[in-house]
């Protein structure tokens, strides 16, 4: 069983000069195409055994002496492959800034307050329909050094290992209506017709009345080809 190729119409290129750090870090030579063997089609299979009870609730997993500040949100969606098949029992890792736009990461020096009750990282696992769900605080925007007056739009980082090493995906989820998106080098690095797939949708059906707003974000990984093919 092979995976469909990475789609150049969906994926960013290694070097995108508007995002300055790509210039010295992105490979310059064309990747060598190789057939998919076991190392590519098999992969780590982290499932429900790897997720603890509080891991998917970022409003609780970092509490010290109270509730985290900010707007509570629910983020949910399905992890599917390109053929529409659910990617079941796979761990989804997330990390993000707090409501003020500050990460607890030690190298983040942005002059905005940390929240003693918010860590900003967690994980959840997909169910039989490929659905994941976590509760968190809406992350704030923050400045960064790419260019004068550069600000990152509100975003949540996602990491997935899927069902094979070929399905590895690291991405970022954004929020609808954010005026910073069109100014953001990372968002703009994605081919224009594909970038909006990184923007979650506000979803009243996911929203919990009197408690938290809901956002939906589906994730599509490379597909498993139905019939073995070799180019």
């Amino acid at each position: 069983m092979k995976f469909t190729p990475l789609d150049p119409a969906s994926q960013p290129k290694f070097i995108f000069p508007f995002y300055k750090s790509t210039v010295l870090r992105g490979p310059t030579q064309t990747p060598v195409h190789i057939p998919q063997g076991l190392g590519e089609t098999r992969g780590p299979l982290f499932g429900r055994e790897w997720v603890g009870p509080l891991d998917s609730d970022l409003t609780r997993n970092g509490r010290l002496n109270g509730e985290p500040l900010g707007e509570r949100i629910i983020v949910t969606g399905r992890v599917l492959d390109e053929m529409g098949r659910p990617v079941r029992n796979t761990v989804v890792e997330v990390w993000q800034a707090n409501a003020t736009g500050r990460y607890i990461h030690k190298v983040d020096q942005h002059d905005a307050p940390l929240d003693p009750n918010f860590r900003g990282s967690g994980r959840c696992v997909t169910d039989d329909a490929g659905r994941y769900r976590f509760m968190t605080i809406k992350p704030g925007a923050y400045p960064w050094g790419n260019h004068h007056n550069a600000w990152r739009p509100n975003h949540i980082h996602f990491s997935l290992t899927g069902n094979g090493f070929a399905q590895r995906l690291i991405t970022q989820m954004y929020f609808p209506g954010d005026p910073l998106l069109e100014l953001d080098p990372m968002y703009c690095s994605v081919p224009a017709q594909a970038a909006s797939r990184l923007v979650s949708k506000f979803d009243l059906d996911v929203t919990v009345p009197d408690y938290a707003l809901g956002y939906t974000f589906d994730i599509v990984l490379r597909g498993r080809e139905a019939t073995p093919m070799e180019k």
Binding site: T4, L6, A9, S10, Q11, P12, F14, F16, Y19, K20, S21, T22, V23, L24, R25, G26, P27, T28, P31, V32, H33, I34, P35, G37, G39, E40, R42, G43, P44, L45, F46, E49, E82, M83, G84, W95, Y103, H105, K106, V107, D108, R119, S121, R123, H157, T161, F165, R168, L169, I170, T171, Q172, M186, S189, A194, R197, L198, D218, L221, R222
Partner: protein
């Protein structure tokens, strides 16, 4: 892709602040991570090896905010499957290590030498970092497996002059066997990255 397929979710960089998210314990945060730099336990069968190296940018400077992942077969050449991952104490063949905690900005894995699977023994690697919009795949082969390397079908696809970028040199130290390989993102020794 064809018309009835769903479109892929685009990749985005892991950014500079991944440490507390995906490599928390390594960086001293008080919670666990799915996998780290040590893949073996005392009872894991196989020859113990250490793999380490730097990740270098286009100026030859070591990168201190990259994260390297490995995925490998066990000592018998079998890739761990569902049963292994259902057991947290089993050998999983998967490691993850950020370059921000060791002197010299090394990545480091303590594992077993993989058995042959699909050609010469090798480790599959993924590199991610701030400034890399999509993860890069590469492989690590072993310098002391010259005969197997010479017939490996993937190495055969790599121009001969560049094959050395994939082959880790072996050193025997009092603490054990250490293989070393630097990953060059750019430059005259740019590592061969793969697409599949």
């Amino acid at each position: 892709m064809t018309a009835n397929m769903l479109p892929q979710t685009p990749s985005q960089t892991v950014g500079p602040y991944f440490a507390y998210g995906i490599t928390a314990a390594q960086y001293g945060y008080d919670w666990n991570q799915l996998a780290g730099g040590v893949l073996v336990r005392d009872d894991t069968p196989g020859t113990r090896i250490r793999l380490e190296g730097r990740v270098l940018d286009g100026n030859g400077q070591p990168i201190n905010d990259a994260v390297v992942e490995i995925w490998q077969a066990d000592a018998a050449g079998a890739y761990p499957g569902e049963a292994a991952f259902a057991d947290q104490t089993a050998f999983h063949g998967y490691g993850r290590f950020g370059t921000g905690t060791l002197p010299g900005n090394l990545y480091r894995f303590d594992t077993v030498k993989p058995g042959a699977a699909d050609g010469a023994p090798h480790l599959n690697l993924v590199v991610m970092m701030r400034g890399l919009l999509i993860h890069a795949y590469t492989r690590v082969y072993f310098a002391d497996e010259a005969a197997a390397n010479a017939t490996d079908p993937v190495l055969a696809l790599v121009p001969e002059a560049r094959r050395g970028t994939l082959i880790a040199g072996k050193t025997e130290t009092p603490a054990g066997i250490v293989y070393k390989l630097d990953i060059h993102m750019q430059g005259p020794d740019e590592t061969v990255f793969f697409d599949f």
